[in-house]
């Protein structure tokens, strides 16, 4: 399947999406120009680019705020998700009792619970982080549990025979076995943390404090500053891709020397 040399493959990884992106942007620009679409309906890429340059500093500042929430929520979700997954795999009773409630975390719309969270959590940043964490944590729990269960039964026997403690089995066997699934969860959750942060700010940002990208989007929307709205969206998207790529890189670093999924590409 992968007959390209390593060098070619990695060039391809960079070049191909750039070319596709460029073609897409050119098409967009061309169509907007040809049909004379007004800028307040759909701005041309050139308009967005101009806005990105002129409004760059203020947008980047907003991005920094959003990114702070994202990183905090992602970290919190990873820690909580992994701990929860460990507990679930260690003890059948804990799992049976609590797993359904982990699902609740995911399926209860933040949009709906955010107002409640603001009532109880006075500190705005914390409230936002909690909202974003709610969105982020489930894929990590779910994939990590799946991974911790996908252990080679022969190796499990080996550990049993050597009277490994639960802790040793967890650290030396279940965790390494779970890594491919865990990183799969991280790849999904990194993006969710970002949109979690944005949505949290959308629904819970009590102004004043809310200087993140969601606030920029809302305000740009109210002010029909559509190029700025798209510029903010573009920043979010780029950040999301960057987060994903870094997770992917991390996953390759950690698994490259042994797992099939991380090889070849």
């Amino acid at each position: 399947m992968q007959t390209l040399s390593d060098h070619h493959a990695s060039t391809l990884n960079w070049l191909a999406p750039l070319i596709v992106g460029a073609v897409f942007l050119l098409l967009w620009q061309g169509l907007c120009t040809a049909w004379q679409v007004p800028v307040y309906l759909v701005p041309k890429p050139s308009d967005i680019a101009r806005t990105l340059v002129t409004d760059g500093p203020s947008l980047l500042l907003a991005l920094a705020t959003t990114l702070k929430i994202t990183v905090l929520a992602f970290t919190l979700a990873t820690v909580l998700g992994v701990v929860a997954a460990f507990l679930f795999v260690q003890n059948r009773l804990i799992e049976a009792s609590l797993f359904p409630y982990a699902i609740l975390l995911q399926v209860t719309p933040v949009v709906a619970v955010a107002p409640l969270i603001i009532i109880w959590v006075k500190q705005p940043t914390l409230a936002l982080v909690i909202c974003a964490t709610l969105v982020t944590v489930f894929p990590i729990i779910s994939n990590t549990v799946l991974g911790l269960r996908s252990v080679n039964p022969g190796l499990l026997n080996l550990f049993k025979l050597n009277r490994a403690s639960r802790w040793q089995t967890l650290v030396r066997l279940r965790i390494p076995s779970a890594l491919p699934f865990f990183f799969g969860g991280m790849r999904i959750s990194s993006g969710l943390a970002l949109i979690g942060a944005v949505v949290a700010e959308f629904v819970a940002g009590t102004g004043g404090t809310g200087t993140g990208l969601a606030y920029e989007i809302l305000q740009a929307g109210f002010q029909i500053n559509i190029p700025r709205l798209f510029a903010a969206l573009a920043l979010i998207s780029l950040t999301g891709v960057a987060l994903f790529v870094s997770m992917d890189w991390l996953s390759r670093k950690a698994l490259g020397h042994w797992h099939e999924s991380a090889q070849g590409a």
Partner: protein
Amino acid sequence: MLMKTSTDTLAVDEQVPALQMPDAKTVLHANKVEKTYGNGTHALARMSLRIQRGDFVSLLGPSGCGKSTLLKMFAGLEEPSHGHIRWAGADTPAKSGLTSAMVFQEATLMPWATVAANVRLPLDLQKVPRVESDARVGKALAQVGLAKFGHAYPRELSGGMQMRTSIARALVTQPDVLLMDEPFGALDEFTRNRLDTDLRALWQSTGLTVVFVTHSIYEAVFLSSRVVMMAARPGRIVADVPLEETDRSEAYRLSPPFSEHCRTLSGLLMAASDTIDLH
């Protein structure tokens, strides 16, 4: 004739219930065990087997007759469906105070760890200090001819090298009981003979008890103090042959008693295999 039939063995057990008369020398005791797997396969018919401290027992028998199943039950990795296994008179291997190591039929290595780390695993689990464990790992790897491959990952090894890693991992713990499931099957005859000799020497110089599954009658006769022959469908013991203790040098392989034992066991194996329809 050197063997007693399985019927004899069973008879003895029926008369003298094992639990009432614990025997200090008994290391492993399968007491009227039977195994039926979840899917209904009747892997082992009710059978008993007593292994003494210092025994070198080889299990021989046709493919699928339950040798691995019996070994896993000895290791405490499978529960008997009926009857029970006792370890030096105790309920569980842990309570017996015996340490054991097992070489599985598959190499069963951790793909994310180097060869050295795989071999070091049992020592790490026992919290042996790193300096000591490194030395022991080095020795064990040299013993199986993998001294230069400590840093390789399992997928970079040939099949035989993976199996040798697995053997090194069992030897490194210096256990009281060594359970080996066709450990040398994937090795060339030269390496196999060397390892046979090494294992025999190790067994002789320590109080080690070995339960050894093999398909090679020659290997069984060369190594064992006792050969247990099994038959299939359902798995059961059809013969239990003690071998006289003699000097097992390379010369022994050419001696008349060696050939005599091999011939006897060949006949038994053929009889045991008759139940399988190959055509």
